[in-house]
Each structure stands twice: as C-alpha cells, then as structure tokens.
C-alpha cells in the first residue's frame, strides 16, 4: 500500500509541477489543483497508513491518528477557496490581457501583435 500511495503522490506532484511550468493560466490552475490533491494525500499519510482502524477511541482495538484527518479537512477547504479565487482571477486576466499567458504577452510571436496586446 505504501508504494502505491507514494507513487500516487509523486505522480500528482510531477504532473502538477509540469502543468504549472506551462505558463498558461488554464494549465497552471489545473497544476495547482493537482498539487493541492497531492498535498492533501501527503498530509493524510503523515498520520501513518493503516486499515481497519477507526479514528475514534473504543471503536477498534487500534486507533488511527485523527489529527491529520482534521488537518486535511482544513487544507481542502482552504485549497478550494483559493482555487475558486485563482480561477476567477485567470478569467479576468484572460479578459484584461487579451490572452491566457501568465505574463500577458505570448513569447515568440511577431512584434506587431505584441504591441497590440500592450
């Protein structure tokens, strides 16, 4: 289970990083979302991975650490709000800057169109 879990987190982080480095707002937003999934999984694993263990005392012979679950919940809520904000901001950026590049200027295009955008 550990290997599968670690691979999942690793793949998510890799994909997230790759997408963030694309420098277009839509892939960046997707990348940030993937990163936050990976982070949530990672946080969850910080209380050790185990099955058939309740996070409540007295429900099973061994109990799981409840704190990471609370942390993950908090992180999910915050991540959700931030994602919503960055989506709106990207839409506004698309409207204000005329394209979806994070710098507002698409590199390697002829200069006439760049001037137009500015």
């Amino acid at each position: 289970m550990e290997i599968l879990y670690a691979t999942c987190v690793g793949v998510l982080v890799t994909c997230g990083l790759f997408l963030i480095l694309r420098a277009r707002t839509f892939p960046v937003v997707l990348g940030l979302t993937m990163m936050s999934y990976a982070v949530n999984l990672f946080l969850f694993a910080s209380g050790r991975l185990n099955s058939n263990q309740a996070a409540v005392l007295g429900q099973s012979t061994q109990y799981a650490d409840p704190l990471p679950q609370a942390l993950v919940l908090t992180a999910i809520v915050i991540g959700f709000a931030m994602t919503a904000f960055v989506v709106i901001l990207s839409i506004r950026g698309r409207a204000d800057l005329g394209n979806d590049h994070v710098d507002g200027i698409i590199p390697n295009k002829n200069k006439a169109s760049q001037r137009e955008i500015r």
């Binding site: 694993a45 942390l71 915050i78 960055v86």
Partner: protein, 506 residues
C-alpha cells in the same frame, strides 16, 4: 488577563463581518467610521496586551480550553504583542488614510483590510504551526483581493503572479508541515521544540527536510534573495495605501523565521540546532546587495520603495542568522522603524504622483507639486530615516545591528555590504528627491491639494521616527527584554506546556 489575548484577532473579524452587513454595506460614511473605530479598538487591545506582556511572563491562552500539545494555544509574549501593536497602529493609519477617498475606488476595501489585520495578528499570536498556516491563508486571501483594489490591466498581471506563487508556497508549507508532523507527532511550537531534541537516526534527516521546506515558504513570504522577484512588481502595482499596509506582510515571514528557527530549531535542538542560520547568512547579505541594486535601477518612487522593502528584509534576516540576543533586539527595533518608514514612503509616493499629474511618481521632469513644503519635508524626513542618517530612527537601528554583528565573525562581509547598500540608498533617494521636487518643466503647479486627513496621517507616521529616537531608551529596553524572552526557549516551553497542564487538572 484571560480572554483579552483573543481580542486582536476577534475584533477585526467582528469588524469585517459588521462592515459587510446592510447598514454599513450601503452607507459609506458609516462604513468608514466603523472601520476606523474597530481599528482603534484593536490598537487599544494590542497596547493593553503590550503593557501586560512587558511586566509579566508569557501569557498562554488555550482555545476552547484544550490543553497545549493537543489543542491550539495563543501565545502572547513580548515579541508577539510588539508586532500586533505595530500592525494595529499601521492598520489604523492606513484605514484613516484610505477614508479620504481611496476606499471608494473599489468594493469591500474596509472589510478586506480588517480581515488582513485579523490574519496578521493571528499569525503573530498563534503558538501552533498549522494554525500559523491557516492565518497565513487568511491574510493572503485578503491581500489578493486588496491587491486587485481599483485594479487595471497591470494589476491583474502582477496579482496573477502573486497569487500563483503564494499558492505554490502554501502547498510547500503543507508538505513541510506534513513531514514535521509525521516525524514529531505534534504541531505545537513548544512541544515540537521538546520533541526535536529527542529525535534519533533517520528522523533527524526528515525533520531537517521539513524545517528547510518551511524555510522556503517563509523566505517566499519575506522575499529573501532567490524568492524576492515577485515583490517589486506587486508592491508597486498595488494601490499605495494597500502597499503601505503590505509593509507589515513581509515581516510576517520574518517573524515566522524568528519563531521556528529560534524555538523549534534553536540551540537545544541537538543535531538540528541553528540549521537554517547557515543558509540565511549568505542569502541575507545577497538580498541586501540585490535590493540596493534594485533601488538604484528603479524608475519610479513606488518601485524604489518596494526595493527598500527588500533591503529591510535582508537586514532582518541577517539579524536572524546572527542568532544572538542583541541582534534580535536590534532587529525588533529595526522592524518597527522600517515598517513605518516604508509605509510612509508609499503614502508620500501616492500624494506626489497625484500632484505631479502626468509625470506621476516617475523620476522624470514634471509639474511642480502643489504642496512642496509638506511633501518635500516629509520625503526628506522619511528618506533620512530609511537610509539611517543620524537624527532619525534608522541610525539607531543600524548602529545597533552593526554592533551586534561585530560580536560574531561576520563583520568582514556584513559591514561593507550593509554600509555600501546604505550609501547606495542615499544616492538613489537624493536623486529621486531632486527629480521629484526640484526638476520641473515650467508648468504651473497642479491645483490638486491633498486632503488634510491624508497629510495628517503622513505627519503622524513621520513623527514616529523622531519619537523612536527620543524614547529609544524605553523602546530598546523593551526589545532587549523581548529578545531575551524569545531566546529563553526553556521558559517558553515550560510556560506553554505547564499552563495547559494546570488547565487539565482544573
């Protein structure tokens, strides 16, 4: 003192919620009055806490009466109360200044400002690392929206960069916290400090990774060298009054470094003792150098001030990496001085750019300003203070810091870099001042006179600098005591963990 500790967080939150409700949401006058009133209440509460912490030991407040390693505690020691007082004072000034007209330029200025104060105060007061993350997010989301206040194209672009960078920063923060929790099994700062010293084997390496990941995040918030590139653009594109308030935000990152790398990874952390300091020392010196270059290269006053922020951060981080009581005390004095002076420079840049018409605050020939004496005099005082010339507060901070650095072996590198940087700032500010006030094309001055409220706020902030010199005795005594309290890690641990144990018994 009981529940008073929560007030600097609760009051701004209550204020923000009230400001969103119908009677204030519609009525501008009422909104301004209420916002200023709440800022004033927060300031009073912070000052009472400050007075209290000066004479007493660390005050610990267990939220919901859950004892320390398990629940979240608020820790009000001298460092925290000093910084929340500074924040509340700056917030009151900025809110008053904005009430002269800047708050109308977009929506929800006042509630967002209150949420920002809540986040900053919370980050200063909390004694729990995850709670620190939550308050970071509170202040960040308020700052995202404030950055967009009265926004145009250029703001959207810099806001996008700022938001994306900080979201990545938050992810790294959580990963760091996850690693540390996995190794230490706790997120309470005092408890972590105990657990770190008991680590063995591979766990030490893991804890080191977690701690250094946190260093990346704090470095991003504080804007130290490789992570500072977002700052000049963001601060110079924000509305000046917002930028003035943002002067405290880099200090949140610096404060987090103080807390984490003095208490958790401080002298008693065994193998991990002072693990960040060796990284921070070269980085801070390079930060000062790059900030000085940025100051020289800036083409307008706001960008110049934003680069001054980078220099001040570099100075503070250098003080952290010296990890001595004296350096910390000097840094605390310097924090008060630099936050207020940088804020006042942003506000002055606002008035200057309005009065110079088309030339704005760019360093080119333009119309003469309408109020040359107030603005010019204000600029002179602020500039003298920032560059650290004798009659002003910057001088004391600088001398003290140089003296503290001579106690360790860093003099050879630190003194030349820091003094040359100050000299560069002197050149850049004199050049800026002579462009802004002396070189005009022959046009008539604009008729735009600044609102008296705005000039009053600026004068109040400027007065702080000579006052900090006149009362430097009590202030330096306080910062010395605060630094001693911060470096007395055992006392911190015992107080936080003991008080909560009593709570369990009762």
């Amino acid at each position: 003192m009981g529940h008073l500790v929560t007030l600097p967080i609760l009051l701004p939150m209550l204020g923000a919620i009230l400001l969103l409700l119908p009677p204030c949401g519609k009525n501008l006058k009422m909104r301004r009055a209420l916002s200023q009133a709440f800022a004033l209440f927060t300031l009073i509460a912070s000052l009472v806490l400050l007075m209290h912490s000066a004479t007493n030991n660390i005050e610990v407040y267990a939220l919901g009466n859950w004892s320390a390693p398990f629940g979240i505690v608020l820790v009000s020691d001298m460092l925290a109360t000093l910084l929340i007082s500074l924040t509340s004072f700056l917030a009151l000034c900025c809110i008053t200044y904005a009430s002269a007209g800047d708050d109308e330029k977009g929506s929800f200025f006042h509630p967002l400002m209150q949420f920002l104060v809540m986040g900053v105060n919370g980050a200063f007061l909390t004694g729990d690392l995850f709670n620190l993350f939550v308050f970071f997010e509170v202040l960040l989301i308020a700052s995202y929206s404030l950055l967009m206040h009265a926004g145009d194209k250029h703001k959207t672009r810099s806001a996008l960069h700022y938001v994306i960078l900080n979201l990545i920063g938050s992810s790294i923060f959580l990963i760091g916290l996850g690693v540390l929790y996995g190794v230490l099994g706790t997120l309470n700062i005092a408890d972590m400090a105990v657990k770190v010293s008991q680590l063995t084997g591979d766990d030490i390496a893991l804890a080191k990774i977690g701690g250094l990941l946190l260093l990346i995040v704090f470095g991003l918030k504080a804007a130290i060298l490789p992570l500072h590139l977002w700052l000049p653009k963001t601060y110079s594109s924000a509305l000046p009054v917002v930028a003035a308030m943002f002067a405290i935000m880099t200090k949140v990152g610096v404060y987090a470094m103080f807390r984490v790398y003095t208490i958790i990874f401080g002298e008693q952390a065994g193998e991990l003792a002072f693990m960040a300091q060796s990284w921070l020392w070269p980085l801070s010196i390079l930060t000062i150098a790059i900030g000085a270059l940025g100051v020289l290269a800036s083409e307008d006053l706001r960008k110049l001030t934003a680069n001054l922020v980078i220099i001040s951060v570099g100075t503070l981080v250098a003080a952290i990496s010296m990890h001595s009581v004296m350096a910390t005390a000097a840094a605390l004095y310097y924090i008060i001085h630099s936050t207020l002076m940088i804020a006042v420079l942003f506000l002055l840049a606002d008035l200057i750019s309005v009065q110079r018409g088309k030339a704005s605050d760019r360093l080119v020939e333009g119309k003469p300003v309408a109020q040359p004496y107030i603005l010019g005099g204000g600029f002179l005082i602020a500039a003298l203070a920032v560059m650290g010339m004798p009659p002003m507060s910057g001088f004391i901070g600088k001398i003290w810091l140089l003296k503290a650095s001579s106690q360790i072996n860093g003099t050879v590198i630190f003194w030349p870099v820091y003094l040359i940087a100050s000299f560069v700032v002197l050149i850049a500010l004199s050049r800026a001042g002579s462009f802004l006030f002396w070189r005009h094309s022959n046009n008539e001055a604009t008729k735009e006179v600044a609102a008296p409220l705005k000039t009053n706020v600026i004068i109040t902030l400027l007065l702080c600098s000579p006052l900090m010199v006149i009362f430097s005795g009590p202030i330096t005594d306080f910062t010395l005591a605060a630094a001693e309290q911060l470096h007395d890690v055992n006392n911190h641990i015992n107080t936080v963990l003991a008080i909560s144990n009593e709570g369990v018994k009762s």
